[in-house]
Subunit: 77 residues, 2 copies
């Protein structure tokens, strides 16, 4: 899970009802986090769950470079 120490996200994008992409900087490294969230009943707030991954901006760019190939692979399924 994303701990408080990892910095408050600068931007939050909802993808589906319980998944979010967040953008933040931690120790001068830009991070894009794609993660499941759950409703914390005690506070009524959405909290980051265990399922997810943080990509540095470099790896995020690398991921986007594969976009057309990913689309092609999806079309082949």
């Amino acid at each position: 899970p994303m701990q408080a120490g990892l910095g408050t996200p600068d931007a939050i994008f909802d993808i589906g009802k319980n998944k979010r992409v967040t953008v933040r900087q931690f120790r001068n490294v830009n991070l894009i986090d794609i993660r499941e969230y759950y409703l914390d009943n005690s506070t009524g707030e959405m909290r980051p769950g265990k399922k997810g991954i943080s990509l540095t901006e470099d790896l995020y760019d690398e991921f986007l470079k594969h976009r057309l190939n990913i689309d092609e692979a999806l079309r082949r399924l």
Copy 2:
């Protein structure tokens, strides 16, 4: 981790030395999995680790729709 039961990936894309995007179909649902991998010393093969997330094609499309906003958020960091 991705279990054998979740289907063999149709396509594998390396992003960085220990992260992969895989594309596969499971129960007629197209999945894009973004995940850390580790070297299994007993077999010499790369194996999926715990850190990662599987997105359905719908959520993947939703994610890509936020691409420009994510880029903008990164520029603001």
